[in-house]
Amino acid sequence: MSKEERERGDGKGNGLILEVEDIHTYYGSIHAIKGVTLEVHEGEIVTLIGANGAGKSTTLRSINGLNHPREGRIRFQGKDITNEAPHNVVKMGISQSPEGRKLFPRMSVLENLQMGAFQRNDRSAIAEDLERVYGLFPRLSERKSQKAGTLSGGEQQMVAMGRALMASPKLLMLDEPSMGLAPIFVEKIFEIVQEINDQGTPVLLVEQNALMALDVADRGYVMETGVIAVTDEAKNLRQNEKVQKAYLGIE
């Protein structure tokens, strides 16, 4: 199925999953997000790119309930989740692989993956999802009982993504999944993002690696110091002169 078909062809296409409407988020008195608006539709990969400190991670923390915005609205599948507690947001179907992975270092790989399914109790479906994660990351099934804190950076990233998938999310948020990885791993990670999306999960992808991100994404948002500077289809952003200069290293 091509992307166009997925978006428009089969009925569930164009369904709006996540709407972020003009949010303002603060750390104490620091005004980190100054009016961000973005959307994610069924079946899409949407990427959020931008320089360090632009507010990408804070946007995700606003969505997942760890930093509630002081102004603006966030709706998920039509429900207002602006001030929802993080554990409820997960229950509603948004899971995340956070920046810096944030694994439970003294738990094994398997335990970490099981923590991802904490709010579920459909045992057989959890077992299926575990097999699915092992299918995506065969390395993890070899490392099942190793403590997560002793894994390599790339392996930890796999656990973080697998753990987020174990929540069986209706929307998957990934914060810089390629950070600190060797090029070969980076490519692999983006392939897997594509694969997860092909299996039906919409993805909101925060990335420094704008080139790769725009390659897999349908649409993109470019953030600059707390606001969205540009938004467009990914293929147009790749051609956008400003974006090329600032983020793609093309003069």
Partner: protein, 356 residues
Amino acid sequence: MASQARTEPPSQIAALLSRPRPSLVAIIGILVVLALIAWLVANFVKDPAEFVNVFLIGLTRGAVYALVALGYTLVYGILQLINFAHGDQFALAGLLASSVLLSVFNVTDESGAGIVIVAIGVTLLIAMVFAATTNTVIERVAYRPLRQSPRLAALITAIGMSFIVQNVALGFYDTQFQSIPRLVPNSDVFSVGGVALQWNKFFVLLLTIPVLLALTWLVTSTRHGKAMRATSMDPDAAAMMGINVNRTISFTFALAGALAGAAGLLYLLYFTTMRFDTGFELGLIAFTAAVLGGIGNLTGAVLGGILIGLVQEFNEGLTVLTPGGDWTRSIVFGILIAILVFRPSGLLGEQTPEGG
């Protein structure tokens, strides 16, 4: 040693040099441990039966310390906060227990076994629920608002809470000791060749062991336990897994409080008397036990509690070359200082918080 090394090939010299040499501290440590062992052996040889008796008393004391130490360690594991009010809640729960026993059940020296068992059972439940509630409320009103503040703010608040709880106890019970009749008799359970175990000690151990087993099961095998372990490692990540972090922290405080409540009653039954400030010193001793075992480590808290209980009783009960009761406090808090200086992670500290 050095001259030998000079004649060896360079790679081996490098290997020798890079091997960590035992430091002076380690050598002194080993000597101290050897001296302790020699001292224990000497005492054992002199009077084996008496040695075992003292050991049993120490074990009983240690069991009470362990219950209180677990509360410090549970809370530290999840919030990295030393809940200084913990010892005072132990005392408050113990005092409440004395009121329940005396005023509700009207127990006396002559009360029959049936009424005593019922009274102890009900009082245990009341003391545990009471301390669990106060501990949870303290977290909610005093510590939660400071969760994002510098750690020192919470620590100072904890010291403040300690004074508040102690003064509540003072307000209700004044400075007099609250005494109850000896409900659990100090007659022998068994007595073999001079070694005897009394019911009042046996009772403490009998109650402590299932509590410890239940706690272990709860932390390692239940959903709540998993949530506690995850929260102790990374609260944000735990929230992202769908764990209700606030509820998990409340639950931890409730659990710690319940243990303090149980310890309060056991202390009262064993020593038959306590006062508004009993929790101050006992709290410090239990805190020492938690640090000795490795703060944040549940097994460590039990080990530390029992070791401190044994140290106290050995020091007060043995006869060969023993400093005696006047030195007990110095020795216990000397251990605290030595651990903090030489091995802040405690005996088992390299293992993990919440037994993970």
